[in-house]
Symmetry: C2
Subunit: 348 residues, 2 copies
């Protein structure tokens, strides 16, 4: 295979830890020479980048689940890429791969760097490359694992926040598949309509409406058995007041709080946990990274549903590496439906 | 056996739901005629009453684990009593019993009332009657179950709030028995000294000291694996910032918040749960009432330790039914060490 070798990389480097939302100057888009490959290295060209809420935590210096991105480093991120040149056998030239590309056009995948593993994607691809960052990637697996940890069963009332988002949209459909009553929470009437009409949830609460509490109460007349929690804040607080005996809260994210993860080592993820005692309920924090041994099971299940037309997935795509900061800001403003990605290049 | 039959009862009736701490007039001590017994009833004389933080929840109208005590009713409470007269076979005259006496001198135990079961205590008693409300009663069993749910194992760092209290003091000793490093949290230097020197905890943090955060950090250099949580509030918040990967928080109580359980249906049990995700940790609310099938196992274990001199237990006793409100106020002020009881009468 003959692919022209690139010599110049463009990368978003973290220059400053954001205070509140991402601001101009927190990231700097730089042009840099790409070093010559040595044995054990491959050059991967980024095709599409995954934009995930967790990026906001990596930019902060809070006590997270991974070390903060050091100031000056290329911003951490997942993507799908294509091997452009290779001096390592496991990453053949031309192969499509998923992994830690970082927010840049090219990455040198060095087999001595444990933190930058890439997985070669199947050939031919059963879905567009971006799906391997979404429904068939880490967000789909997150949904699958969370619904499993929540022990969702027929007859349960399951509440899913960020229901129109990458994880929530899949989680809700999986919960429906188990026979649960599924209530989404999303921002605005359009998203709510989409969650019910297209994704098939039983109801959706618009958390931007003044009467969201009443909407949530009305949508959960029998209380709440499982909360697949992606958002935190006041809505989660209200959910906790409505949990049933033995309820399971699977805590996947708290996106409403991440912009508070600024220069401090804490964030404002305050909720009222009193009802956990009254209802003998559990909050379990989880991260998909811990379930590597179940990725194959999860992706096989999700790919099966997709092939049968039983899983709907949405994608919001922006074009161009330079638009990554715009995408991040849109995500925290709730502008995306489904998986948010940035298209960086087309496969050769 | 010949015991004079009583004709007049004295009882604390709930007249008003407290706002903040218990105030004069919330409870009224009344004198009332004791009705004649009919078949299926026994008259139980209260010997000693258990004063537990949970009483504050029962006085409120929040969404608790039991219905609120209706205004006008005798206040709910556990106690040890003696059967004074009986027209039911399972409660023989003279027997010592433990159960729902309520905050009163006499209770008619009616076998049609499911909510008022009594257990006949062993004869002879292996410990003073009040122990059956403490180390060998519901508080001891609570400690036993909580340490078990927390899956405490050798090498763990276990933090126990209200460490000098009825539950915490037992829980800490059980955790020590499993080989854990046990750090108590208590109010004031005297209690802290007691927790370390007499109860054998490895360290104790004085939450009334200005530097309690630094004390807690210094006492948990390897982070926190298990939090046996009885208190909630700012201390719990700080504990949650120090939890380790896979930490277990067993949520037994949140005494710091109960006085907020006033006329509203919520209380201010706000803590920052963000680290639950980062540390893949769990908060599990539990109530000893759910573990009736393990009471015998727990009490056998605790009685064995007691008989071997391997379990220290403390009691703070006030005298006289009229002093129940004083005891409640002292408890929320942190005045008691170990199990708090009110002595009402001597056994015949």
């Amino acid at each position: 295979m003959s692919i022209a070798t690139a010599t110049v990389n463009r990368a978003h480097r973290l220059r400053r830890r954001p205070v509140g939302g991402l601001s101009d100057g927190d990231l700097e888009l730089v042009e840099e020479a790409i070093p010559e490959l040595v044995d054990g290295q491959a050059l991967v060209r980024t095709l599409v980048l995954s934009i995930d809420p967790t990026c906001r935590l990596w930019m902060s210096d809070m006590r997270g689940y991974m070390p903060p991105v050091p100031l000056g480093d290329v911003m951490r991120g997942l993507g799908v890429g294509q091997v452009l040149a290779s001096r390592r056998a496991d990453l053949p030239e031309g192969a499509l791969v998923a992994g830690w590309t970082g927010w840049q056009e090219y990455v040198v995948a060095d087999d001595t760097q444990l933190e930058a593993p890439f997985t070669v994607l199947p050939d031919p691809l059963p879905a567009p490359p971006a799906a391997f960052l979404g429904a068939l990637g880490h967000t789909g697996v997150t949904a699958y694992i969370g619904i499993d940890l929540g022990r969702v069963q027929a007859g349960d009332t399951v509440v899913i926040s960020a229901a129109a988002g990458a994880v929530g949209s899949i989680a809700g459909q999986l919960a429906k598949g188990r026979g649960a009553r599924v209530v989404g929470i999303a921002g605005g009437p359009d998203k709510c309509r989409h969650v019910v009409e297209t994704l098939g949830f039983d109801a959706c609460v618009d958390h931007r409406a003044d009467d969201w509490r009443e909407q949530l109460d009305a949508a959960t007349p029998d209380g709440i058995d499982v909360d697949f929690e992606n958002v935190g804040g006041a809505v989660m607080d209200h959910i906790l007041m409505r949990i049933n005996l033995g309820a399971r809260v699977v805590l996947c994210g708290m996106i409403s709080q991440y912009d508070a993860a600024g220069a401090q080592s804490e964030w404002a993820g305050q909720v009222n946990i009193g009802q956990l005692i009254m209802r003998r309920a559990t909050i379990q924090g989880f991260l998909v990274l811990d379930f590597a041994d179940r990725f194959e099971e999860a992706i096989t299940h999700l790919a099966g549903l997709l092939a049968e037309g039983k899983l709907h997935y949405d994608e919001t795509a922006l074009d161009g590496l330079e638009n990554v900061p715009v995408a991040v800001t849109q995500m925290f403003g709730g502008a995306n439906t489904g998986k948010l990605v940035v298209q960086v290049a087309e496969p050769a």
